[in-house]
Symmetry: none
Subunit: 219 residues, 2 copies
DNA sequence: ATGGTCATCCCCAGAACTGGCGATGGTGGC
DNA sequence: GCCACCATCGCCAGTTCTGGGGATGACCAT
């Protein structure tokens, strides 16, 4: 059986060419198309689509919000965001909203079809640079902090663990050294970073957090 | 110029076939091979490799730990974990340790070479099911932040100052209250955020922290 | 071989934090 | 009125950090 695809895209031309691509490719069929999130929200639940290609930049309700509302009703339906936005903010929001794939609009047709197959098979298709950004977010700290340049590898390790809130003794255990060694490393870190407490060091480490932004908006 | 690859794998047979694959493929060259993490840690920094294929299950120091120690020294080197483990724990740890790719050992040779190219080009190659697991983790992570929402205005103020590394007495002065009041606010903050130290609170506040003590509330 | 950096370990004392136990008012909802 | 929350203040004991003073051995470069 072919994969049932729905398309949400406000630009009629782009939409038409996506529909054409899907319908003319064996193994795929386009079961519905929508020019707005509002239309998609009311129609897609009836369409029994397996995969939704969702533009982010829609008038009115945007694609991310549309995905967020659609997903609870249709947990089995896979949503691939299709967009020109590469910034981390959009990517995270889309994934958090329930999208399982994130492809750029410039993706060649063949890859797009492959992405639909992949998401349908349980994968999470995404452009390689998108993947890197997501992976980076898992990583602890950028190795580019100017001051931490002068830190020795071991000291940098300690600072990473400090930043996660570990106690001295826990750091000691994690690094398989004694409390005394951790203590010494930390004194050296403080000297090099010109700080007088772990929190200052961490704040400096986590990116010069001198200017506070809205903590609520952080997510 | 071909891509310089290092291989860390304890099984001599597997290692040999990987070396052979790399060296016999145009565009790739194997600059070093290592049967243990210890050997890898001392040799890879000299090898100037661009991409490291790292087995997770090594005797002694494991591959994740090896990656964690290697990465600070060689921030430009891309590490691809190569393993049989598909569980979220291992994936997450490996990525947090600095790996940029995560492939299963059963990956066909052609795909493995493609993954090396991809990581070298700035991507993050991973098997499709791995990608899905990573994306899923964002979906659990997403619908959150009720924690800092529940902080009262005054508590939020304290947390801000805490994050900048101020001492209790300095916070007291800045907010024109006594040390005791600051103390109470901070205890309430810790309760609400499920943390046990100022650094954990700050890490969580700055959005970097996955607290080890309370993974449920960790966002 | 000498000096520098790094990593490891030790002791000690004072400062700072953490977490119990309180308490008093004020405000706002039901 | 009562209850929940907030903001303010207090005491006390125990834990953890911070910052001095050391030390050793390894490695690397001059």
């Amino acid at each position: 059986m072919s994969i049932a695809v729905s398309i949400v895209e406000d630009d009629a031309q782009v939409r038409a060419s996506l529909v054409k691509l899907i319908d003319s490719s064996p193994g795929f069929r386009c079961v519905s198309q929508h020019g707005s999130a509002e239309n998609a929200l009311s129609e897609i639940p009836k369409a029994k689509s397996e995969v939704v290609l969702m533009d982010i930049n829609l008038p009115g309700i945007n694609g991310v919000e549309c995905a967020r509302r659609l997903k609870p009703q249709l947990p089995a339906t896979q949503i691939i965001m299709l967009t020109v936005y590469q910034n981390t903010e959009h990517i995270f929001n889309a994934l958090a909203a329930g999208a399982t794939g994130y492809m750029l609009k410039q993706t060649p047709p063949a890859e797009l079809l492959a992405a639909i197959k992949e998401v349908h098979a349980g994968g999470s298709p995404m452009s390689s640079h998108i993947a890197r950004k997501i992976v980076s977010s898992f990583q602890q700290v950028a190795p580019t902090t100017p001051a931490s340049q002068s830190l020795s590898p071991r000291e940098a390790e300690v600072l990473d663990l400090l930043a996660k809130g570990f106690l001295y003794k826990e750091i000691a255990e994690a690094m398989k050294v004694t409390y005394a060694t951790v203590h010494t490393h930390i004194r050296h870190i403080y000297e090099k970073l010109h700080v007088r407490s772990r929190t200052e060091a961490v704040a400096k480490h986590l990116g010069q957090g001198r200017s506070r932004r809205d903590p609520i908006a952080a997510n």
